[in-house]
Structure formats: structure tokens, C-alpha cells
Symmetry: C2
Subunit: 511 residues, 2 copies
């Protein structure tokens, strides 16, 4: 069985999990029944506990699906605390459905899998030892990878049915009103966790900062919360900010950022009221800097900036160059602080951000998205999930979702070390080439042949040489050579959903 | 069939509508499945229209349930605009399920009933010509009256299933992000309408103020909205503020307000961190004024003020005497303005405010509630729905819900004109006496005999004479005499739900 990006899919699993192969980036206008949780009615007076052990024992049973959010990133303490108790309680056969996984939780999850506590995982991504473990066949059942918008969809239409959500927050009152903006372990937007709070059957908040009732602003509301548990610490403030939030000084990255900016500024979308998502990482921050100057020079203001937010973006808001910041997660403390001080900085949940199955997501209104790639192939298909050794070491994040923008730019060096980024065929297709418009490398750009308008717009720009993507691929090959093919076993260790819930690719066990 | 407040209920209708008789103010901890709407997936690009006629035609079909909110109160233009089109389209057999009804829409609704367009109504209340019309048998099916919390419950558990919600807003972008705070026809909190926005199958926003995308803060979100319709005007700003928002100068009302304040201040609940709901009306505003002075004198601060909010309450917030204002609706422009300027002023939906079927409503945490009464009887049962002539001329509002407070005070003159307020038996039981603690009149107070602690707390207070409620009733009777009994026909014209969905009383057709 091959799908529309020519990927061979494992028929047995497709059948077993009732999956359809990926067909198109078009979502259409299906009608479907949203789900809702069962509610245990309460006045709220008995929610508060200082014993996480007691609440875990009360809520988690064999075979359940439990969830976490990843807003604490590498500073997360919550998954470790909760999973330690669950493993020690001898619980079996859990599905974990976090918004994503970070290195902070790899050891405990490997232990949980080895002991049979966790038998299924769905996540946006995984990295490090857990990625290695899964890629080498450590789990019996395939991991299901979903984009942030895809997870929101799966929760809203019932494919992910969360029995218990364990949500860490830097503040909460004893009834469960909470936000991500105040306290020690602040992270700003609770965007991903808002899905869990709304849809999980039982919601357990963990906090190290119990505040007087009623706590406002309440991103998570008491009407959604079953238990509030006081713990010593929910996260390490120093590790919450993502590492890659400083301006790059790498001349190659600066060159790429400059070219990305050229592409944006010379596109038909660069006009008053345009919108953009730049993401995080040193190169993205450099793009934001160039874009700021271009906006000043051309007297152009953006209507909104979207996505994972960084301080350089909220600075644009303060400066009046951006009308609104629509924020599903923050990558640094500066961004988190902006959310409570600037009314134009709006917290949005993952559904509003990117769920393709609602009445209109922010990504549907996006003009320009700048995205990264581990690999991109001559069909413009992008891989952000597996290394060129076949091992899982990435995350879909909002990649498939934001690629829905009118102008989707992949910003990537042609090669990284001894590895080509532009390849004949990506190891894993995560985002289909149909949704990618321009590739920007340090050597020049390639434009998706489907975008004749952009071919026209960018021709004859000084300093922005245009190649075909095949030419860029050959150039990369010439630099680093042709790698030996990866050797796989037959077993499938992961399925990659497209944002609409079809399967765009699978990942095999690495030999 | 008699319920627990000794009301004879119409057995045929109880069966037909599958109702249980009222038993108790205790809600318990039932587990139930929440409902969710069907969603027609969209990118949001085709939501905007300038033809209300077209959208009404597209959405409203025979037999549907449609809804409105009443935040525009007597300044509402939305119901008239929408119902005019629906009637003219020849639509039949609609159920209308507004959060409440005001005089602004009486004529068109009577016409809609007479023409068979509307055959069922559920509302918080009705007044004037529509109340007369229904009370005199103008509708075949009984009206179902629900409290604000009861409506939220009915929507969340599926008893009210809204096919199309027509929601007027003072601002919206073309995808449906909207709030009640900016524009011409501002009313502040969208509290009641947020239920419709979340649960209706189709949501149509009407606005006279289309703003650039994306509009924030978004109380209603684009993910919830199917259509945005531009109209010339959604409401009359001058009639949105409720009439009774000025301080009373009536010495009787001032005397009552002073006594209410005495009751609060001498109760065990008047301490730092207490909470209260005062409501609107001249007497309520006077209570707020006295309470302010008592808080200053005793150096006591409240944790939150709840409910329908007025400027005197937001003034307390500004002054630091109240920690938070939790706002489901605003009664004047001052309160509406506070919501966007003060972060401690939190908009809450009707579920968070008062739904007894969730994980904890604000009313469950309320210390002191001051409520009004058309009548109160010697069992402390309260009527806020029908006049002593039996005609419908009131609304439950949050009465049953806020009566859940630890100290529920009914503030009411002993008599009004030639009519007694304290009576042997109320015309209609809306709020059961079990949830009422103290009656305050201009002559003195009566304490529910179940509250021995309050009997003790209030004894020997100068200027606060205590009577039994029977004594107050006799006193009232002595002043105005015994009215002739109301003559009813057999037919039931309305059923009154208690907040948990049981039936607490019914209203018969007046002869």
C-alpha cells in the first residue's frame, strides 16, 4: 500500500489501527461529532491534596491513557514524579499521550516501557535515548506521531481519549484555576495543555505555588479540574527556556536568514497586515531581526505573529510592528512575561492554533511560515523526525500545520557536517512537498515548480540565486557524497500521521 | 404528585417531559457524559456575510432550537431582526432557548407564537405583554423556566440542544473572534453567550463593528463560529444599562440596605477573604455602599465579588477592597469598562458561574448572597417569577444558584403598595426555603429556624429586631389584608426547573 507521497505503508498496522493513507493537503469540509468528557460533579471543596501518591493511586488504572504537556521542556519534573509513582504502583499497559516529549523524561519512560507500565505512546516527537530505544525495537506497539494541530484534532474527535491528564502549572488555587504566567517555573502560554484540561476525563494539576482563591487570569478553569496537588517543584526554571533562543553568529546561518528575509520581502505577501510564524532557533531569531528592519524600511506592519513565541517577536509587538501575538507556547521568559503585560498578546489553545478539524484555525490565515528541516527531498517533502541514520530524533511540532501558510519557506543549510540536507528522498516524510513553497539554503533558493507566481516574483533578484531543487540536491551530493543506505528490519516502530489523521509515513526498526 | 416543597405538579407533563419532582438542594456527586456539538469543518474564509437574510435562510429550518443571549437587555435589536426574517420565511415549530427575554422582544415573539413559528420557549424569565400572553394561555406547550446555572447545566448535559445560536456582539473580526467590551453597544461580559458559542451546532455572530483580524481578547473564538454577519446596529447603547443602577433615596430601601449590611457584618462570614454577590437594583447598590464602609472600618477585604456586576462593585476592586470581580454579566457601562482595564476583573461563563453539574461553580464558594423576592412565604420559599395575580412577570436569573451561598439574605420590603411580600404561601416556588437563611425587611429580620447559629449571632443587636417569619407574615397581612385567591384554569402554562433539572413548581393559566 502506497500513499500519495509514494510511501509504502504497513498494511497490517493500517488495518489494525483503522488508518487511511495520506492523500492530500486539502482538508475539505467534513462534518463530525466532537467528543466531550464524562464529568464527576463536585462543589470543588475536596480537590486539594498534598499527596501526589494518593491522587495517582486514586486516578490511574491499568490500560488507561494518561497525558502530560511539554511546556516545561527540558526543565520538566512532572513526568518523572508521576511516572515514578505509577511504575512503583505496578500499573500496566498505559498509553501516554503527551503534547510532546523532551530529554528530561527519557530514562523514566524507558524504564516504564521495559516494565510493561507503558505499552503505547503518542507524541509530537522524541529525542535522545528514548528515540534510540524505540528505533531499535524497544517497544512492541508503534509510536504514533502527531503534529500539534493533529493532536488537537485527535482529542476533539475522540481518537485520543485521555483518562487522566497530569498538568504542571506554576500557580493554581485550591480549586484549579491556573495559568502559566506567574510563579517560579513560568512558561507563559498553556496552549497545548488547554486541550487536555478541556477534554480529559480527569484533570490533575500539579503546582509548587498554591495561591488564594480565585486565581485569575484562569487559563485552566476550576470547572475542568478534579484534583490540585501541591508538590515541592514542578520544573527547573533555568531549563524551561529552549536552548536555541540566542541570535546566531554563524555566518552561514546569517546568510540563510538574510535570504529568507529577501524571499519574504519580495513575495506578494509582504504588505500591510501580513502575518507570519518564524519559530525558534538561532536562525529564526535572525530572520525576525531582518524582517523587523524590512518592516521599518517599507513602513509595513504585520497583523499577527503566530506559533511558538520568542522575545524578539514580542519586542515587535511592543514596537507596534505586529498587531497581535497569537501564542500557543513560549520559548523564553521574555515572551512569557509579555503575555501578562500586553493585552495584544493572546494565549491560544492548540485547536485554535492549528486543528484542521474546526471552524478555522490560525494557521489557515497565515501568510508566511518559516520552518526548518532535517532533510528535504527533490519533491519538497520534509523530514523533521528521523536522522539520516533512520533513528528517531525530532518532533513534528507545528510543522505540518504551519506549512499550510500561503508562503511556506524551509530554511536550512544545504549540508550539516558530513550529511546532506537536500536529498533524493527523505528518510521519513513528515510534511508533504505540496505544502512547501520555497527552500532557502546558503547557496541559493529552490522554488516549488507548482508556484509559478513565485518563480516570477523572485527572478532577477540580486543575491538570491535560484536553482531547481534537483540542482541543489546534486550540489549537496557533490559536497558530502552518497551515504550508504540505512538498513532496516521489517518491524514498524512508528507511524506518522498527517494533520488530518491519515498516515503519511512509517518508521522501521533500525538494524 | 407533590414535590418536597409541597407543590402539586402536573403528572401528564412530568411524564411527557420526563421530569422528576424537586427533592433537595443537595446536588451530590453524579457522574454524567457532557455533550459536544457537531462541527462543520472550515478554514473560516467564507464566514463573513452582509446579508442576515441569507444566513437565516441557510441555517434555520422547521423544528429547530435557536438561541439568543440577553446581554443587550432592553436595548436588544438582535431578536427582532432575526425573528422578523424567520417569521417571514414561514418557518414553523421552533423552540427558542435564550438566556433570558426582555421587553424589547415581546411583540415579535407574540407574533411568532401566534403564527406557529415558535411553539416552545425555555428562558430564565419573561415580563410584560409576553408574560401576560403566556399566562393567559397564549401558548400550547408550557414554557420551561431555568436559572442561569440551570440553563448551563441543561446545555452541558444535552437537555437544551441548540441548533443555531444568534449572538449579537459589539465587535467581531470576519472569522468570529469577538468580545463584549469594545464598540458602540458594549455590555462587558459575554458570560451567558459563551455557553451558546461553545455548545451550539451552528453559531452566527451579528455585529455592527467588524474589526481587523485577529480580534482580541477573544471571549468568543473563531473555532466556535460558523458565520459573521454585519448589520447596521445590534443594540441601543442607552438601553443596555439596566434601569435600576442608581443609588436609592427611598428611606425604606435605605433602611433595608442598612439592615442587610448589619446582618452581613455580624455574621460569622464577615472576615478577611469573604466573598459576596449583591446583584443589581437600587437597594443592592446601597448595600454595596454600606458594606464598603464596614470593610474600611473593620479592615476587612473580600476575596471576590460575583455575579451580575455594577460600577459600585468594580469601584471596590479599584480601591483594593475586593480581590477579584468574577463577572458573568454587567449591569452598567462602568462595570463593562472595568473588565478591559483591570486584570483582576475576570469574565466567567454561566457554567463557571453557577452550573451545579460541573467540577465546582463560583456559587459553591460564595459566602454571602443578597437576593430579592416578589414573595417569600413562611417556609422561606421565594417567588421571583409570578405576580400575586398569578401572571408571569419575572425571571429566575441566578436566584436559585446564588442561594447556594453560606449566608443567603432575602432583601425585601414587607409590603409593596397593596400587596404583601411575606405571605403564607408563595404563588410560585422558585427558590426553596432550605437555601434561604435570613429575610430582611424594613420592620426587622426573620431567620430560618434551621440556622440556630445565626439566631445566636444576631440576638441582642440594637436596631435589628428579630421576628419569626410567621410574625412578619401576620404583620404584612395586618397592613394590606388578605387578597382574594387567584383563579386558575387547569392548564399548565409553565414549568419551573430547580437548578438541578427537577421541577420545583408549575404555573397555571390565569382565568
Amino acid at each position: 500500500m502506497k500513499n500519495n507521497v509514494q510511501r509504502e505503508l504497513p498494511e497490517d498496522l493500517m488495518k489494525q489501527y483503522n488508518y487511511q493513507p495520506y492523500e492530500s493537503t486539502e482538508i475539505g469540509e467534513p462534518v463530525y461529532q466532537k467528543v466531550a468528557p464524562k464529568v464527576k460533579v463536585s462543589t470543588g471543596d475536596d480537590k486539594y491534596s498534598e499527596s501526589l501518591a494518593e491522587i495517582v493511586k486514586k486516578t490511574v488504572k491499568d490500560g488507561m491513557t494518561i497525558s502530560f504537556h511539554h511546556h516545561f521542556r527540558n526543565g520538566d519534573y512532572v513526568v518523572n514524579k508521576v511516572m515514578r509513582l505509577i511504575i512503583d504502583n505496578g500499573i500496566k499497559d498505559l498509553t501516554i499521550a503527551p503534547s510532546s516529549l523532551t530529554g528530561a523524561m527519557n530514562d523514566i519512560l524507558i524504564e516504564a516501557i521495559q516494565k510493561g507500565t507503558v505499552t503505547n505512546i503518542t507524541s509530537s516527537g522524541m529525542r535522545g535515548s528514548l528515540g534510540e530505544f524505540v528505533s531499535h525495537g524497544g517497544m512492541e506497539n508503534p509510536v504514533i506521531f502527531r503534529s500539534h494541530g493533529g493532536r488537537a484534532r485527535a482529542i476533539e474527535e475522540g481518537s485520543i481519549k485521555i483518562d487522566v491528564a497530569f498538568l504542571g502549572v506554576p500557580n493554581a488555587d485550591k480549586l484549579g484555576n491556573a495559568n502559566g504566567m506567574y510563579g517560579k517555573a513560568v512558561f507563559g502560554s498553556l496552549g497545548y495543555a488547554l486541550m487536555d484540561a478541556q477534554y480529559a476525563q480527569q484533570v490533575v494539576l500539579l503546582t509548587d505555588n498554591v495561591v488564594p482563591y480565585p486565581n485569575t487570569p484562569a487559563s485552566i478553569k476550576q470547572t475542568q479540574v478534579d484534583y490540585v496537588v501541591k508538590v515541592d517543584a514542578v520544573g527547573d526554571p533555568d531549563k524551561i527556556g529552549s536552548g536555541a533562543t540566542r541570535f546566531t553568529k554563524d555566518p552561514k546561518e546569517l546568510k540563510i536568514a538574510q535570504s529568507v528575509n529577501e524571499v519574504i520581502v519580495n513575495s506578494p505577501y509582504f504588505k500591510d497586515g501580513f502575518s507570519f510564524q518564524t519559530g525558534s532557533g538561532g536562525a529564526a531569531l535572525a530572520v525576525t531581526r531582518y524582517l523587523r528592519q524590512a518592516m521599518l524600511d517599507n513602513q509595513i506592519k504585520a497583523s499577527f505573529a503566530l506559533g511558538g513565541i520568542t522575545k524578539p517577536t514580542t519586542d515587535l509587538l511592543e514596537e507596534g510592528l505586529v498587531g497581535r501575538v497569537m501564542d500557543v507556547q513560549d520559548f523564553d521568559k521574555g515572551a512569557a512575561e509579555s503575555m501578562h503585560s500586553n493585552q495584544m498578546h493572546q494565549e491560544i489553545d492548540a485547536s485554535w492554533y492549528a486543528d484542521p478539524y474546526n471552524k478555522g484555525a490560525m494557521v489557515d490565515q497565515l501568510d508566511v511560515a518559516i520552518l526548518s528541516a532535517l532533510e528535504i527531498d527533490t519533491h519538497f517533502n520534509v523530514n523533521v523526525m528521523s536522522g539520516s541514520d533512520g533513528v528517531i530524533r525530532g518532533a513534528i511540532g507545528g510543522h505540518q500545520d504551519a506549512a499550510n501558510a500561503k508562503l511556506t519557506i524551509i530554511s536550512s543549510p544545504l549540508t550539516r557536517g558530513r550529511l546532506a540536507t537536500v536529498v533524493p528522498e527523505v528518510t521519513t516524510v513528515v510534511t508533504p512537498g505540496d505544502s512547501i513553497d520555497v527552500l532557502v539554503t546558503e547557496y541559493g533558493i529552490a522554488i516549488n515548480p507548482a508556484r509559478k507566481d513565485l518563480q516570477e516574483a523572485f527572478k532577477d533578484l540580486p543575491g538570491l540565486p535560484i536553482y531547481t531543487i534537483e540542482e541543489l540536491q546534486k550540489k549537496a551530493e557533490k559536497i558530502v557524497g552518497t551515504p550508504a543506505p540505512i538498513e532496516y528490519n521489517d518491524r514498524t516502530v512508528a507511524l506518522i500521521e498527517y494533520r488530518d489523521g491519515t498516515i503519511i509515513d512509517s518508521i522501521k526498526e533500525v538494524k
